[in-house]
């Protein structure tokens, strides 16, 4: 028989997170700090609207690009939040989560051999999506000493004639790092100078704790070079509804809508109706969640300082990324032992790219009570490691 598997897919490495999920879900009494989704329920008025849309029998397809009502609200929202205007008819598409938009954008923009600059550590899907789109992922390693921000220096050695796309994953999963306007300006100049396009994954934009989130699309000359990707999963606590969106120049969006039409048809209809309500009337709910995350973030930073665990202060998403360099073991080994010995699940930094080695991703999408209990165990573990080393 012939080999049923395409060569391309075998190049894609399985996610390093899977292993931890398998071990942790077999164990009792595990406190997890390993989750990449909000602990809040979707605000009730959004859920209620979703239920109502089912009651009303809104169970049909929507137009491929999404409900016009929702696209209008998305454009109003982006105008308000990142101060960039998009045409809700021609420059906006509703997708199945931000993840679909990442995949579709790459497939619509890459020719075989085109290179994609991917800053790491980052979310796990950019590299596989680039490979499946026949692109060549080129990893740009971010550095702890820069608080994992992207600098022109980092990119300079990686850019070539074939580079076409830069992925901008900020606020960042797993580091919590953000890019301010000052940080973005030189990056935007670099992008224009090398005639690149940007896929800006801003799914955590609502969770910024130091001033307003700034989109690279809002910088001069960048709107026409940027696909902005966002969604409802993180800010609106709607992960399971699978709803995201993307906005960008008509020329690109037109092709993306075409691909989306053939692959997906349209995003789930009742999620779309629910999201309209989210954009219209949930500012306060979002703000309240943001405030709660920020308090937990401060709490974690304070506790890490007390334990003497090195960690830069992150101002975005709901992750902190402490260094475990002092323990001289791989982050995989550290996380495995922490799970087995203290029953705390965290994700090793190496799951997000090689340069995440030596770090842990700790999520604070948990109640303060859970965080306190987990940190108690973590501290106990760290003490034991330090004693072992001295003894």
């Amino acid at each position: 028989m012939r080999n049923p598997i395409a060569k391309k897919i075998t190049q894609v490495q399985p996610s390093g997170i899977r292993k931890f999920f398998d071990i942790a879900s077999e164990m009792d009494d595990v406190i997890s700090l390993g989750v990449g989704e909000p602990d809040f329920d979707t605000p009730w008025r959004i859920r209620e609207e979703g239920i109502f849309s089912l009651e009303r029998g809104r169970t049909f397809y929507t137009s491929n690009a999404g409900l016009q009502e929702l696209r209008d609200e998305i454009c109003r929202y982006l105008e308000r939040k990142i101060h960039v205007s998009y045409d809700p008819k021609k420059e906006t598409m509703v997708t199945v989560g931000g993840s679909e938009a990442i995949d579709v954008a790459m497939r619509c923009m890459l020719d075989p051999g085109d290179e994609v600059l991917i800053p790491q550590p980052c979310y796990v899907s950019y590299v596989p999506c680039a490979i499946m789109a026949d692109g060549v992922p080129v990893v740009v390693e971010l550095k702890n000493e820069n608080e994992f921000k992207l600098t022109v220096d980092d990119m300079e050695k990686k850019v070539t004639e074939r580079t076409k796309i830069l992925v901008m994953p900020f606020p960042n999963n797993p580091t919590g790092s953000i890019m301010t306007r000052e940080d973005l300006e030189p990056v935007a100049e670099f992008v224009k100078e090398h005639d690149l396009y940007v896929i800006s994954d801003e799914i955590y934009s609502e969770l910024s704790y130091k001033g307003e989130h700034v989109s690279i699309a809002s910088l001069p000359g960048m709107r026409e070079r940027t696909i902005v990707i966002n969604g409802f999963s993180k800010g609106f606590a709607m992960t399971g509804w699978r709803l995201g969106y993307c906005c960008g120049p008509e020329e690109i969006l037109k092709q993306m809508i075409k691909l989306h039409q053939f692959a997906i048809m349209c995003a789930p209809t009742n999620s779309q109706y629910a999201a309209v309500e989210g954009l219209r009337s949930c500012d306060e709910d979002v703000e309240e969640m943001r405030r709660a995350y920020n308090q937990r973030r401060r709490f974690l930073m304070h506790e890490f300082a007390r334990m003497g665990l090195a960690c830069f202060e992150p101002y975005g998403a709901f992750y902190v990324f402490p260094s475990i360099e002092e323990f001289q073991m791989s982050s995989d080994e550290f996380a495995t032992r922490l799970l087995k010995e203290e029953r705390v699940a965290v994700v090793p930094g190496s799951a997000f790219g090689e340069c995440g080695e030596g770090f842990l991703r700790i999520s604070y999408a948990y109640s303060l009570e859970d965080l306190k209990a987990a940190l108690g165990r973590l501290e106990h573990f760290i003490q034991r490691l330090r004693n072992e080393r001295e003894g």
Partner: protein
């Protein structure tokens, strides 16, 4: 603090990103100015052996010259068994919440104390059968989270 009055001062300062002394001063100031009026405990009495009934009483009254509703409200809120007295817009004037040990005790209060007050025109009493949510806290058990343990 509105949700957890027993929060440790040190912890509160960390969560707010402020100095402990500043937070302590601010709280002392708010207590002095009666912005913070008290610290109560939310108890689910159904879970204890204690018999308790809570009633909501709508009261229609004739306001008194020069004093409006204040004088009559005072006559009602001074009873220790009265939990709350609100001036209400709409079909009646005062909403009184009352706690008693038994139905009988509550009805005795209404018929012997409340209704006979000169300016009270009428009362309507409603007994609470079950508290689902009180002071922003859901009293019925919540289902456990079904989130997966590790996700990207």
């Amino acid at each position: 603090m509105e949700r957890n009055s027993r929060i440790d001062l040190k912890e509160l300062a960390v969560l707010l990103g402020l100095e402990e002394a500043i937070v302590a001063n601010e709280i002392a100031e708010m207590e002095k100015e009666k912005v913070i009026c008290g610290y109560h405990t939310l108890i689910d009495w159904d879970k204890t052996g204690t018999e308790k009934v809570t009633a909501l009483i709508e009261v229609r009254v004739t306001p008194q010259r020069n004093q409006g509703f204040d004088r009559i409200a005072e006559r009602i809120y001074n009873y220790p068994e009265v939990h709350a007295v609100y001036l209400i817009s709409g079909g009646y004037d005062l909403l009184v919440t009352l706690e008693g040990k038994t139905l009988k005790e509550v009805s005795r209060f209404v018929s012997e104390k409340l209704a006979p007050i000169d300016s009270v025109i009428s009362t309507a009493t409603y007994f609470i059968l079950k508290k689902y949510k009180d002071f922003g806290t859901i009293m019925v058990p919540k289902t456990e989270s079904e989130r997966m343990v590790v996700t990207p």
